[in-house]
Every structure is written in C-alpha cells, then in structure tokens.
C-alpha cells in the first residue's frame, strides 16, 4: 500500500496538469479553425468543440506513468480501450453517425479487456457473494463498455454537467475500490477524476469548450473499463444511476436507439430570460433534465446543481454498496 503512494501522486499531478495546461491552447486552435458549435442554452454564443484530445492526452500520459511504476496489464487494457473510444467519438464529432454507430463500435473497443484477460468472471454482488459466469461475463464486458460510454455521452447536455458528473462518479468509484481493498486499481482510477476535474475548469458554466463525443465517450468508457478490471461492476452501476436514469427515460420514451441530435421533439425550451423549462411537446423524449424542470423553470446552473446533487446521492449509495460487499448474509 505504501509503495503505491508515489505512483498515485505523480499520476494524479500529470493527469490534472496535462488537461489543465493543454485545454486553453486547444480552445484557441479550435476557434481559429472555426471548430465551434452554438451553445443552445445561450443567446448567440459559440463554443469550441471537441475537448476530447486534451482529455485523452491527460489519461494516456498519467496511465503510462502508472504502467511504468506498476507494470499491470490492466493499465494497458484500460489505455487501449479508452483510446479506441476516443477515436470512435472523434469520428462522430466530425461527422454525425447513425444511432447504432457508437454502441456497435464501442463493443469492439471492449476487446482489449478480453484479449489481455484482465477480468474476473466471478461477478461480485453486495450481501450475497459472487456468481461464476464465465461465458455470460464476456457478454457483460461487451455490453458494459458501450453502456457506460453512451450513458455519459447522453448526460452531456448542459455546461459542465458531463465533466462535473464524472468528477463525482469517478471519485466515488475510487473510494469504493479502496473500501473493497483493490488498491492498485483504485490508484489507476484516480487520474479519471483528476482529468475530469481539470476539464471541468473550462467546461463549467459558461463553457469555453465542450468535450464532444470524443471527450464524453472517453470518460465513460474509461469508467466502464475500470469497473470491469476492478471487479466492481455493480458498485460502478450504482454510482452512475442518475445518468442511467437519463438513458433509461430517453430510451423508454423514444423506444429506439437514436442519436439525440436526430430527435425532432425538444424536451426543453427557453423562457424569455433564457431559463430552461420543460416543453409540452408529446413527441419529445423524457429526459432527466425534463423531469428536473417539471416543477418549473430553472437556470442552467440550477439544473446542473440538481444533477450534481443526484450524483452525490448515488455516490453515497455506491459507497454503502461497497461496504455491503464486505458483508455476507
């Protein structure tokens, strides 16, 4: 445990500062090349996109340093899977692909985890112990990476929400990994929170840069990969519940897998003073933001804070779940 402190500190510093230092020049580069998109929740504001390159640079730099210290195949699998997700997201940033593109290609991104064999097919549950599911677990890996990647992508709807949410969820996951005494993977997971935190500095309201699909898929996929190699799949799912609710509400109302940019009905509209309010449009999908706004109009910042409160609540439930992993009925 003591020998892990130095790698942890060094990788965290690198993760934070690579993103913190690299993002401002990336914003200038994107603005110079006119790679900006309209911030739909503000009047005539254009924002640079995507921030994925800065995020992946922070992740790769910090994880390579960790690999130099720890020599774990788990780290290699996480790096390759996460980089594949970044490439998939980057393609989608440049050209809007069909609804199936991301789920299908992200399933292939999960292959390095299987090839390196860095998983335990004993699925651990709180209170009740483990179940050995060798074949089923492979399917779980193939499913989990697209789910976590797309779930974080689907919550990237307001300034700062995706990165802020990932700060809360990933630090909750790191705490849980320490609780279940998986110290090495806990250290490996820390850069994800630090990268998200550094990016949040520029993504928070008013955003100077959006993560884009490349950024959101990178964060979500790395989260899923850590959950698998750390053997904390159930805990990770609990920490991600607000984003899961968002995806679930969206899918259960739209009833098909579709990119949110291609949905015609708008779940949220603006008041005259540019506050957000839920629409009465029956063709619009039900989303987490729409439910938060059901009680009346709120500012973008207030909606973001509401989502963060839900994320903290889920994080606490995840930590309780981690303690329950140590209890057996």
């Amino acid at each position: 445990m003591i020998e892990l402190i130095l790698p942890a500190i060094v990788s965290c510093i690198i993760a934070f500062f690579v993103v913190f230092v690299m993002t401002p020049p990336l914003i200038k580069f994107l603005e110079k090349r006119n790679l900006t998109v309209k911030d739909v929740n503000k009047k005539d504001v254009m924002v640079a996109r995507p921030g994925g390159p800065a995020i992946i640079a922070g992740i790769i730099a910090s994880e390579i340093v960790l690999y130099a210290f720890l020599q774990l195949n788990e780290i290699l699998a996480i790096i390759i899977t996460t980089f594949a997700a970044f490439l998939i997201g980057y393609i989608d940033d440049r050209k809007v692909m069909g609804g199936w593109f991301k789920p299908v290609t992200l399933a292939f991104a999960a292959i390095p985890i299987i090839v390196f064999g860095v998983y335990d097919s004993n699925l651990a549950f709180p209170l009740f112990g483990t179940v050995h599911i060798p074949v089923l677990y492979l399917a779980l890996i193939i499913l989990m990476i697209p789910i976590t990647g797309n779930t974080i992508n689907s919550i990237d709807v307001l300034n700062g929400v995706a990165s802020g949410f990932m700060v809360i969820a990933s630090f909750s996951l790191s705490i849980c990994l320490f609780i279940v005494e998986n110290y090495e993977i806990a250290i490996v997971s820390l850069p994800l929170g630090l990268v998200s935190l550094a990016f949040y500095r520029y993504h928070k309201i008013p955003s100077r840069i959006f993560p884009g699909d490349s950024g959101a898929l990178t964060l979500g996929t790395m989260y899923g990969a850590i959950a698998i190699v750390g053997g904390v799949e159930i805990i990770a799912a609990v920490a991600l519940l607000p984003a899961v609710i968002n995806s679930f509400l969206f899918l259960s109302s739209v009833k098909r897998i579709e990119d949110h940019r291609k949905i015609k009905g708008k779940p949220v509209e603006h008041t005259d003073d540019f506050r957000l309010k839920a629409t009465d449009d029956k063709t619009a999908p039900i989303t987490l933001v729409r439910l938060i706004l059901a009680g009346g109009s709120l500012s973008e910042k207030q909606v973001g804070l509401a989502i963060f409160k839900l994320a903290i609540f889920s994080g606490i439930l995840a930590i309780i779940t981690a303690f329950l992993m140590r209890v057996s009925l």
Binding site: V131, P134, V135, K282, L291, F313
Partner: protein, 76 residues
Amino acid sequence: MRSGLFGYLFAMWILILVGSGIVVTILGPISISGFGELNWIIGSSIKAIVAIILVVLWILILSKLKNWIFRKDITS
C-alpha cells in the same frame, strides 16, 4: 429539486440489491450434467436466458415505478 428523483434513485438501488440476491441464489447454483462436453454450453445458455429475463423484469418494474412516481410530470 424534486424529491421524486431521489426516491426513484433509491428504488433503483433497492432493486439492484434484490436482484443481486436473486442472481446469487437462483443463477449461481445452476449446473447441468449428463450432456458430456455440452454441459457448460447448456448451463451457460440457461444462465444467460435467466439473466435476460431478470433484466427485462427489472426494466418493466422500473417503467411501472417511473409512471407511478412521475405520473403527474410525464405527459408523453
């Protein structure tokens, strides 16, 4: 901030815990014998089918819960 959302989150968490119990007590002990080398394939297939049924049930319960908790808010 709507308290219903916290309630929905909590309900999902409880469903996960209950589902865990069902998986461990029902899915875990399933083992097939008498088919030679096909034992593990048949056993895994049965486990997969039971798991899919459980997931579908989980989604159905969540849908009902969603309609119950947010029935005033959901218009579509």
